[in-house]
């Protein structure tokens, strides 16, 4: 469902725009109570069976978008409770980052096999013959699965000549590569925060829009309003995300209208990382360490470190492109606040870690950024193409798409060490990443460079994106081509 625009997408974005507008235009925020009525007008429900439930859900979404915790459903509490405290020009939200709005959850049944209407009650009924636990019997002339006995091996599904048996899973759980989604006492989804790596895939895969993450739009705008110098560090996957009129040459001006001072490409930090990792690979693999795993995707690197506790040193130590870029910005001007703008939910968490917290002040997604543009009435069609982006090479910009990180490192190894051969394996989606890590654990990836991406398609498939995958991939290609430098190592800005 990720990448398809639905009512769920619409509501999520309306909330971001509304919060941005509230923050930009007001100094006192009690009018937040009115926003659910603006987004869901009238007396008749549009999306669910009750207009009151719809508004209550908008209310919770608004709170999360302001960085506030969800309210308890069994206690009275005003929507605006805590809003004034949240109006601070610094990091505000606390864990958990990704939340299930329980009363919006449909309590979908978990992983099961069901017999559909396609069953013709055939004579052969091979489903019963292949079932290892005798869970299938013929009831009223059709196959019937005894849920108590079923072990969900799926053999009946494969055996049925009519495709009559369907496998069914909760969309959130199916999208979760960490098996982090369980159920509460009412059968509704509940996230095991110990397991969750905040990739955000459940957020964009829940068809009921019941899962949302916290946002920092509200606090960023506070910071802008109090006159702080704020700089956007924009991830390379931004290409195309803001629509066809938002060319890179207009970006500086557009961010100025939002109140930012400057925009720097995170692909610059990616260039630095690609060069560092190229040297690292050439010197250390396989003599000093069996393989090298990339570290730019935070969900993947957490997964890798958890899966291979004895091999953590194989997960690249180089700072992520986000941090490298922030370091450059802070060096140029130590008083600048850095806002990482990206496709990623997990980066919000990465930025709260002790080691990184000093560099990144805020993190928002492209979707949230778009809400800010709408709130401020920024029209790319009316802006002039004034200042091209020229911080980064084609290599660094390619980090946005699955395979791009490995490509960049390989290109630079080849340039520095023409005789060194590089073995590459890569995976996208945390489930496949896990499989790759198990192979590495078993010693089957020795000598390799391993690239992992938590989101299908790479960063362009992140939970905070707006464009369909193929459009985004094409735009990134274009953006890569427009760089004056091909190789990361040829980018003069990396010495800064």
């Amino acid at each position: 469902m990720q990448g398809i625009y639905t009512s769920v997408t619409k509501i999520r974005r309306q909330v971001f725009a509304a919060v941005a507008k509230l923050a930009y235009e007001h100094d006192e925020y009690s009018s937040i109570e009115e926003i659910p009525y603006q987004i869901i007008p009238g007396e008749v429900a549009t999306y669910r069976n009750s207009v009151f439930v719809e508004r209550a859900i908008i209310g919770e979404r608004l709170r999360l978008a302001m960085g506030l915790p969800l309210r308890r459903a069994d206690e009275h509490s005003a929507l605006s409770k805590g809003v004034e405290e949240a109006a601070v020009p610094k990091k505000f939200f606390s864990a958990p980052l990704v939340n299930v709005i329980s009363f919006a959850c449909n309590a979908c049944p978990t992983n099961s096999y069901e017999v559909s209407n396609n069953c013709r009650g055939c004579l052969a009924h091979p489903c019963t013959s292949v079932c290892p636990v005798k869970a299938i019997s013929i009831v009223n002339g059709k196959s019937h699965i005894d849920k108590e006995k079923c072990v969900r091996c799926g053999r009946c599904q494969q055996a049925c000549p009519y495709d009559a048996i369907v496998h069914y899973d909760r969309p959130c759980a199916a999208a979760c590569g960490m098996d982090a989604i369980g159920s509460d006492e009412l059968g509704r989804a509940k996230i095991d925060q110990e397991k969750c790596v905040s990739c955000g895939q459940c957020i964009v895969n829940c068809p009921f829009g019941a899962i949302a993450d916290k946002s920092e739009i509200f606090q960023i705008i506070q910071s802008i309003k109090q006159g702080d110098k704020v700089c956007a560090a924009i991830a390379p996957s931004f290409a195309g995300q803001l629509g066809p009129l938002a060319t890179t040459e207009k970006l500086h001006e557009a961010f100025k209208i939002l109140g930012f001072d400057d925009v720097v490409e995170v692909a610059l930090g990616a260039d630095k990382g690609a060069v560092a990792e190229a040297h690292h690979y050439a010197h250390a693999v396989p003599d000093k360490q069996p393989f090298l795993a990339t570290s730019c995707c935070p969900s993947w690197s957490v997964l890798a470190k958890r899966t291979l506790p004895d091999l953590v040193e194989c997960v690249s130590e180089s700072d992520t492109p986000m941090i490298e870029t922030a370091k450059v910005i802070k060096k140029r001007n130590p008083n600048t606040k850095v806002v990482f703008v990206g496709p990623c939910v997990a980066k919000k968490l990465e930025a709260t870690r002790k080691l990184t917290a000093g560099y990144i002040d805020f993190v928002i997604t492209f979707e949230e950024l778009m809400g800010m543009f709408v709130a401020k009435g920024v029209e790319f069609g009316d802006l002039n193409e004034e200042q091209p982006l020229d911080d980064a090479s084609s290599d660094g910009r390619g980090y946005a798409v699955a395979g791009g990180v490995a490509d960049a490192i390989v290109n630079n190894v080849k340039a520095f060490y023409p005789d060194k051969e590089v073995l590459v394996d890569r995976a996208e989606g945390l489930k496949d990443c896990k499989k790759m890590l198990m192979l590495a654990k078993a010693g089957k990836r020795n000598g390799y460079l391993l690239e992992g991406m938590a989101c299908p398609g790479g960063c362009i498939g992140g939970a905070g994106t707006l464009m369909p995958l193929n459009k985004a991939a094409a735009a990134v290609k274009q953006y890569q081509k427009s760089s004056p430098y091909n190789l990361a190592k040829d980018n003069p800005n990396i010495d800064e």
Binding site: A17, G243, P244
Partner: protein
């Protein structure tokens, strides 16, 4: 052969409200032209803010020839296109 010019608003509000996904839908329609027996040339033009978004809740906006469609969705636009080609 009939020519159809479809302007899809690419202003900020419309992009946020999914106008790029409408472009996807129209491009998808081109791929099933054969099955639908559609004989027409469809030109998609992303354009500047067409204006209606300034009134509440009218985005996204699409213009087919001269007809303005507000609160457009992929399915509405596809059926309008098919109707426009067939008559």
């Amino acid at each position: 052969m009939k020519k159809l010019r479809i302007e899809v608003c690419s202003g900020s509000e419309c992009v946020m409200m999914g106008s790029m996904d409408i472009i996807e839908a129209i491009e998808g329609l081109k791929q099933v032209k054969q099955q639908l027996k559609l004989r027409a040339q469809i030109e998609i033009v992303p354009c500047k803010c067409l204006g209606p978004c300034k009134n509440e809740n009218l985005a996204p906006v699409v213009r087919i020839n001269d007809e303005l469609i507000t609160q457009a969705t992929g399915d509405i636009v596809m059926s309008k296109i098919i109707a426009a080609i067939k008559d």
